[in-house]
Symmetry: C2
Subunit: 477 residues, 2 copies
């Protein structure tokens, strides 16, 4: 079935294969069966790590190991080629040298593959344009949703799909959650996924899309727009492969969910580095920024911001923008008030009822005001009472709760207090905690409950500002 053999990816857009390609991304993220092509005995080989991920990670579908030179790998009987599989191969995971990729893909298509993830490098990025063009035609002719080549793989924690070849002890895998992340750079992708795993932040889909020969950011955004388990999308990109497709997909997506982009290669030297890295036509920072804004996408300026912004979008949207701040450390409250102003946000004025209620519950040496300093001897019960008052105050739209876990008076039960408050869904709540091991542990628990935590008042307020910016856009795109 030959549908589209055009050379420019943008012409693929108008062909009938676009919806099919996007539909076939199902087989990338939720394959019914996979074939690991290049399955290997060697622990450091890509074809070993990926096979192990599927065998030991709890994946529920059929796993085929393809290797013509050995009878079995990791206890699985091998087949010589994908087309020897007993059943259909839904997705091919390709880790053989570049010269064998085309025939591996042909075999996989014969075996029924709707998708392929080609980890193998050695194509356009090293000058092998002909090789890359061949696999592109093959894929487009067969509506094969091909990710890569020259990529780091795909994660879908909910479906136990893990074709990322970085060892698990070096790069952690996050639990299932609402954030999806598409990255042009495998390295940057791995860093952020690893951060998410460590921080207890859940992810829906992760994909490193490498050379974007067939499937590019535009297809992925369109797919994620309709993916019900994706609440927010973050993206690292050096350049856009197909401008019109990107713009239309981003617009469709941002009507439903936020899109946060870290655009690299904005500077002169950065653009030159990007050209040598992924061959991207980077630069023209203003052009990109204008396009992102038009598409309703939010920009991050660093890896920290990309991660910090992603986390906040699992919260329910907020109608207003008046911030209430609660703290057990006075200095941290002062910094939070400064950050509210620095981000152009608005400090809430507590209602008269809240002021009276706070006055009656606070010790004599604490004064009701915003930021509300509960004082260093605050225990969980004091947090609980103050939180209740602030949740009930219609003058407050968003709650920023600073918790210094280091104080003697506060024990881990404050976690339950915060989770209960968040689960009331009355207001978006974010938590700020700065510190070491004990604090990190508690932050991780909160993040695991879907309460985004931040290491400082300023990083929290930056994220809150983006959160409110998107809420405004969504209400009035």
């Amino acid at each position: 079935m030959m549908k589209n053999s055009s050379k420019s990816p943008s012409s693929a857009r108008s062909s009938s294969s676009l919806p099919r390609l996007i539909r076939n991304l199902d087989a990338v993220f939720e394959p019914k069966s996979v074939a690991v092509i290049g399955a290997s005995h060697e622990p450091n080989k890509i074809g070993h790590v990926i096979l192990r991920n599927f065998l030991e990670g709890g994946y529920g579908g059929e796993v085929y190991a393809v290797n013509p030179n050995t009878p079995d790998v990791l206890g699985v009987k091998t087949i010589k080629r994908a087309s020897d599989a007993a059943g259909k191969v839904d997705c091919a995971l390709v880790a053989v040298p570049a010269q064998f990729v085309e025939s591996a893909l042909k075999d996989s298509i014969s075996a029924g593959a709707r998708a392929a993830v080609v980890i193998t490098g050695g194509f356009g990025e090293v000058g092998n344009k002909a090789g890359e063009e061949k696999i592109k035609r093959l894929a487009l002719d067969n509506d094969l949703a091909l990710i890569g080549p020259n990529c780091m793989g795909v994660l879908n924690p909910a479906a136990r799909v893990d074709s990322v070849f970085l060892p698990i002890y070096k790069m952690g895998r996050p639990h299932a959650g609402g954030i999806s992340f598409i990255s042009q750079s495998g390295a940057v992708g791995g860093c952020i996924v690893d951060l998410a795993a460590r921080a207890g932040v859940g992810m829906s889909k992760f994909v490193s899309y490498g050379n974007a020969t067939v499937i590019n950011e535009g297809h992925l955004l369109r797919y994620l727009a309709q993916d019900s388990s994706t609440q927010a999308v973050v993206s690292y990109m050096e350049g856009v492969k197909d401008g019109p497709l990107f713009m239309s997909s981003a617009k469709v997506l941002t009507r439903e969910k936020p899109l946060v982009i870290l655009k690299a290669g904005k500077s002169k030297h950065g653009a030159a580095a990007a050209a040598s890295h992924t061959g991207s036509l980077a630069g023209a920072a203003e052009v990109y920024s204008a396009a992102f804004q038009q598409a309703g996408a939010l920009e991050a300026n660093s890896l920290e911001e990309l991660f910090d912004f992603a986390k906040i979008f699992t919260l329910p949207s907020s109608a207003g923008s008046r911030i209430g701040i609660l703290t057990n450390g006075g200095g941290n409250g002062v910094l939070a008030a400064d950050a509210v102003e620095a981000e152009g946000l608005q400090l809430a004025e507590f209602s008269a009822r809240s002021m009276a209620a706070l006055r009656s519950m606070l010790p004599s040496y604490a004064t009701p005001r915003n930021p509300m300093d509960l004082i260093g001897d605050a225990d969980s019960a004091r947090y609980e009472r103050a939180l209740q008052i602030m949740l009930d105050d219609s003058n407050i739209d968003v709650l920023v709760v600073i918790v210094l876990f280091q104080t003697a008076a506060l024990d881990s039960s404050v976690i339950n207090v915060l989770v209960k408050a968040a689960q009331s869904k009355k207001k978006p709540i974010v938590v700020v905690s700065t510190g070491g091991e004990y604090t990190e542990l508690h932050r991780r628990i909160l993040d695991g409950y879907g309460i985004p935590t931040y290491p400082s008042p300023s990083s929290a307020m930056r994220a809150v500002a983006k959160f409110l910016q998107y809420a405004k856009y969504r209400n009035n795109p």
Copy 2:
């Protein structure tokens, strides 16, 4: 011996007791003996935590436990008052209620105390101005270097001095190192010290100075200027207690070592919060910034920056400002190039010799250029050869080495490579690593060796920019 009973702290400056007060800070940071006044059996009481810190922390001097109501605490025979001590009491650590503080200080002075750390609150910050004035007069009349009241204590890891009352399992204690930190807020102080402990960053002195009734930021800066184990000073402040003393002390200090300040209460609401927190006259952000600049101090804009900037100043100073970047992740290199431009820094141009040397050692698919992408399959040996070339290149002044520890090719031996390069002292080296648990562990080792590490290219470049700014100031104040 009555020397100075003036009411305004600034008038103390001109009196003969200023040098003596500053000299007596020795007894705060390196006391020959301490008396814990208010030693307690109760694990959550301040007088228990502090006594335990001194008994179990390896402190080498004499420790007296003062409590008139019990024969012993934690196995130490108590005395009824400090003046009952068998030997001299060099420093009194006071944790009794406010109404008993004055007599405790009198007893301590009788016992020979040159210094006191008064943890106890309930003075000026709650309206008890008279009580605060009394202990101030007493201290000034006797050249008692009094820290506090209403403070969180003092740390000197090298001397095993630890009067911080936050439990060790909640707030870690850093190992001995070159950074000293003075904080007006105990809470912010605890957060940063805890961060340092977790990150493997060493500290020289930490002091939470609370109400700054006698000893204020000016005295502390003057003391730290001449403290040979302090390489850099960081400070959190909401207001300055004694402007002229602060300015003269800061100028003396910044001629020798860097001073990084996080000034809170810069915004309207932040200033109001600061007034209610430490009674500081905050606000007038521009006035403070101008004064800091005049004094040669560097400003940080967030807790992260305060910590990030502090770390870099344990490196030897740099004569030039041309940055060389090494990476094993292309995308991270692109972000680093962007960050160089964003911070107004200069990307180095490799010498012809370096270009030739790199070309001959790199695999065919890597191109010599700055940022130098060693590619994801780089091992420690490739890092070592590239580092050597860049250390020898006189076109490069500062090295920013990005290390993705997640790759299969790289093992922990890259730590030795980096430590060897840093110990050659040819150039300042900072490391950038983004990731989770495995990455954090390796960053901690590097920080412990005095190689500052950063979680992203942008945070690293911000710190490098401050580093170069100070080098410039010091060469031409």
